[in-house]
Symmetry: C2
Subunit: 184 residues, 2 copies
DNA sequence: TAGAGTGTTCAGTAATTTCTGAAACCTTAA
DNA sequence: TTAAGGTTTCAGAAATTACTGAACACTCTA
């Protein structure tokens, strides 16, 4: 399956960005390829198009499934597995955020909780534990926010954004509402 | 400089998470160490405490400076450079977000803009470019939101969160305000 | 029950990233 | 001008991560 130059540029870019997005080059390319292709692809299509071994594709698919980014599709009378992105671009991005949050923040939250339980043994530890408390608070706040944003539908998000200056504006709104209540 | 076991646990954890946060093990440890230490440290302190070479520390510092996470401090009559976190935990987190956004999204936005300018040559490219448009839109939306959140002070953020169910609630508020306007 | 078509695993190899340590470099003080 | 005390650089070594390909496994169908 030959890629046109525009498509190739996109897929290769996904490869280069792969590791920054949390996976590796090959897996980045695989996501890119599956996303810009209108129809599902077989493992062999992927292997040939990207010039990577069949085994590597198999491992990549497993990884992408663990990120919940692709789904398997079957064609009657055909024993091959066909793969396609599992949902819209927004859905995929949401899953990546979620998965990264799990991998980047949850383990730290857990460690901090454990360490903070113990009594500080000296001044140095006292300070350290205060810092850990701050970090814990930050991570929890971000987690809650991320959850909220994730559960919003793209349409809602866009609506909210068009409101004007974005979140800043929201604080003004809060004041208006509170004032209304007081006025009543 | 000996670390107590709690502090060591924290610093080593930062090392393990380092690569997930966008740097590498050593640099993760360095951030951890600098953050939980009340007073600034010299490159030698870091080298000895973490058991890594002096050269490695020097490279790590350069990297942390490029992330704008640490600042240099001087003591009169002492030629050594002392390093400390540049700002509060929130400040640091904000910088990491910002820097990651630059590295993870900006290059893709730029590529997409370039590719989307060209006319699709066939049906396959037509579809591909539509997808690219969706991705572009998503990234721009996220960028704007991230900017908004970043410019908010922690206090504001916390206030907003205490409002109730978070962002979901905000949409209700929007409706209330709009209704008010209509009522008038 | 054999064998064709497909998917998975994993030991070994290749590629990439990180780290070391010695040399070069800078600045200040004598 | 030299030397001391400090930092930076970078070639090569070490560690880590990713990839290949052959062997194995599974499932039909004849």
């Amino acid at each position: 399956m030959r890629m046109t130059s525009k498509i190739e540029a996109f897929v290769m870019h996904c490869g280069e960005m792969g590791s920054r997005w949390g996976f590796n080059r090959t897996i980045g390319q695989m996501v890119g390829l599956l996303v810009i292709n209108e129809s599902p692809l077989t493992a062999n299509d992927i292997s040939e198009t990207l010039n990577i071994s069949r085994g590597n594709v198999s491992m990549g698919i497993k990884e992408l499934q663990s990120w919940r980014l692709i789904k398997t599709h079957h064609i009657p009378g055909d024993r091959k597995d066909y793969y396609a992105p599992d949902g819209s671009i927004w859905d995929l991005a949401t899953r990546v955020f979620e998965e990264r949050r799990k991998r980047e923040m949850d383990p730290t939250l857990s460690l901090l909780r454990t360490v903070m339980l113990e009594e500080p043994a000296n001044q140095q530890e006292q300070f350290a534990q205060e810092k850990m408390f701050e970090i814990h608070e930050l991570l929890e706040t971000v987690t809650v926010w991320a959850n909220e944003l994730q559960t919003m539908k793209p349409d809602n998000l866009k609506t909210l954004m068009k409101l004007g200056a974005g979140v800043g504006k929201v604080l003004d709104m809060k004041d208006k509402i509170l004032n209304n209540k007081v006025a009543k």
